[in-house]
Symmetry: C2
Subunit: 379 residues, 2 copies
């Protein structure tokens, strides 16, 4: 692998590199400090303090009280805890509202609830992949325990009308959860602005290591633990804290907060440049998702007359994804793109190009040229 230059990384929505500053923050908790944060001696105290410092950094990013941040092993666990934990704590209401464009980490626990006595509704999306608020509203009622809708879609980047839907949810006495794994660190996500009750974050989507995340739970929200054991994380998430990873996660949140606007502007400039290159050269190319209300780093395009998998296979200089959950090599269209009303014959041409902090102007020019060349060869 070292003999060939690595392809240009345009798959940040799948996983981000860990920032150098993040690794540097973690290293003392791998090399110098150790101990169990629950231990009542100096080794434990140092570890406990590190966890609480990180909790404050995460709270700073999403503008909440540190006591409302519960560390988890990542976004998937955070979603499971939110969805199944709220359902378990509510013995009366037995309806969950979600959408047709959720991540498997939301679909999974919703399906589980559907198999265990709950009814689950899935709100549709419009042509840009945005949940239709009016249609969502139709599903809401006195039976609704929880509404769980992602903050931004991971494939198209389209931002969802979370605030409006949260208001509707609260209007019927339901709680609002949002999976903000793709949004946090890319755009401002505030629990103050967005009147939501629960919010999931994943470390490895914002330049922290994999295997760490958090669930924001607004104070007073009834919720039960998913994993059961000792009293860690106020009893909501037992298990010895993953101190080094939590420290890295906190550092990544602080970096994200301090550079959100600047980096968002830079990366959206690169993203728009890439779209400019592609749309000028490829007749019939189209964008999937909302051109305006969208994550700044995400460009999902459908190439005419080719499959996304075939196109990426013809671009060894680029690492990206079709965004679908297909097995390697199989050509099938993304459920998210299909849900937007895109015909299957077109949806199959979708490619997700998700940019990030390490991408440069030069890389974008190269990537654009390679995609255009490959498309011309294939059609």
């Amino acid at each position: 692998m070292k003999n060939n230059p690595l392809p240009i990384y345009l798959d940040h929505n799948a996983s981000t590199p860990v920032l150098t500053e993040v690794v540097d923050a973690m290293l003392p908790y791998l090399r110098e400090f150790w101990g169990n944060p629950s231990s009542t001696h100096v080794y434990g105290w140092s570890m406990h303090e590190a966890v609480e410092h990180a909790r404050g950094q995460v709270a700073g990013l999403i503008e909440c009280d540190p006591g409302e941040v519960y560390f988890t092993s990542g976004g998937t666990e955070a979603n499971n805890l939110a969805i199944r934990g709220v359902a378990a704590a509510n013995q009366v209401r037995r309806h969950i509202l979600t959408s047709v464009i959720e991540h498997p980490a939301t679909i999974g626990p919703c399906d589980w609830l559907a198999q265990h006595g709950y009814s689950v509704s899935r709100a549709p999306v419009d042509g840009v992949g945005r949940v239709v608020t009016e249609r969502a509203q139709e599903f809401l009622g006195q039976e609704t325990a929880l509404v769980t809708i992602m903050h931004a879609n991971s494939e198209t980047g389209t931002l969802q009308p979370i605030n409006e839907i949260a208001e509707l949810a609260h209007g019927v006495g339901a709680l609002m959860h949002t999976d903000a794994a793709q949004s946090c660190g890319k755009i401002k996500v505030s629990t103050v602005d967005a009147n939501i009750d629960l919010l999931s974050i994943a470390g490895h989507k914002l330049y922290a290591p994999q295997g760490v995340g958090a669930l924001f739970v607004r104070e007073g929200t009834p919720i039960k633990p998913l994993v059961i054991g000792a009293g860690h994380e106020q009893g909501l998430r037992p298990g010895t804290e993953s101190v080094a990873s939590i420290v890295g996660f906190g550092q990544a949140c602080e970096i994200a907060r301090s550079s959100l606007a600047e980096e968002g502007e830079r990366v959206s400039g690169l993203r728009n440049r890439l779209w400019g290159l592609l749309s000028a050269a490829i007749p019939g190319i189209a964008m999937n998702g909302c051109p305006t209300d969208r994550l700044p780093n995400t460009l999902n395009v459908r190439f005419p007359g080719v499959s996304g998998n075939a196109l990426l296979a013809a671009c060894p200089g680029i690492a990206a994804s079709t965004g679908s959950a297909c097995h390697e090599g199989a050509d099938c269209a993304s459920e998210v793109i299909l849900a937007m009303g895109v015909p299957e014959s077109e949806a199959i041409g979708a490619v997700r190009l998700s940019l990030g902090r390490l991408n440069t102007d030069a890389e974008i020019e190269l990537a654009g040229a390679e995609l255009i060349k490959a498309w011309n060869c294939l059609v």
Copy 2:
């Protein structure tokens, strides 16, 4: 903190330091490589390969097929997955057998099952903290879905009769799970020798980072996932893999495997020396747990006439634990020690001294002297 020398660390059963070789193995996956192991490009392939290499290293330690190792966020999650996952997959049998000396990570899911239509029995222990096989057998029947008994007790180090109990469990058609978090890396734990179906390991008990562990699930064992989402870990444990931590965990398992006998002998020598010092100087001191069949690093003693908490508070040069789940400062006896039939007035004097790789002869001499001096001052 840096101004005073750190106390001698005798709390390895709470959490171990991360070995330098383990951090070194992790660093490339924090600094050089990144990507989602599920991604179908070179970034993903490197991460995937690293996870599979580590899976082989874990399998090497416990002598199983790598395909039987499922990575989790730690021991607590592994126990939850084993206990609730097996119960969920068995729609007929509704009885669980555990013991009176389990960790909260086992008590928790068992209590949860007891609240959800299962009956849970708890086998008693004898005077050295060993589960009484004959008494355990009395609880077993055609209703028993699972027997879950820890491999070695974390407070006393007493080894449990896992092989005998597994045989009895299988005799009635039940599955056998053991929480080997404290044993793995300290003594040989083999899924070949021990005829068990499920086995939990925790990284931070064997010199790997916190926040990573594994569940061994013998091939063909019916089990359902606890966390639900995408298809990671054969669908049994979804969520993007914690690659760097998994790599460190694998490395720690390989180091443990290659130095198990040698390090066990060294550390038990230190442990026995410490007991020799204490027992020679303190009349009426007693050992909690089995003097012979015990983890090589663990010494649980009860000091006469003092509480363990008071004694440790008088020993600023030592970092250890009373082993009880009490809140800081509160004087209450360990449930484990009480279950062994030790009177509460004596049990309150229990202190767990758990040694490890970094402890030296000199440290043990110093620790022994400090404990003896503190005891003499207090009584």
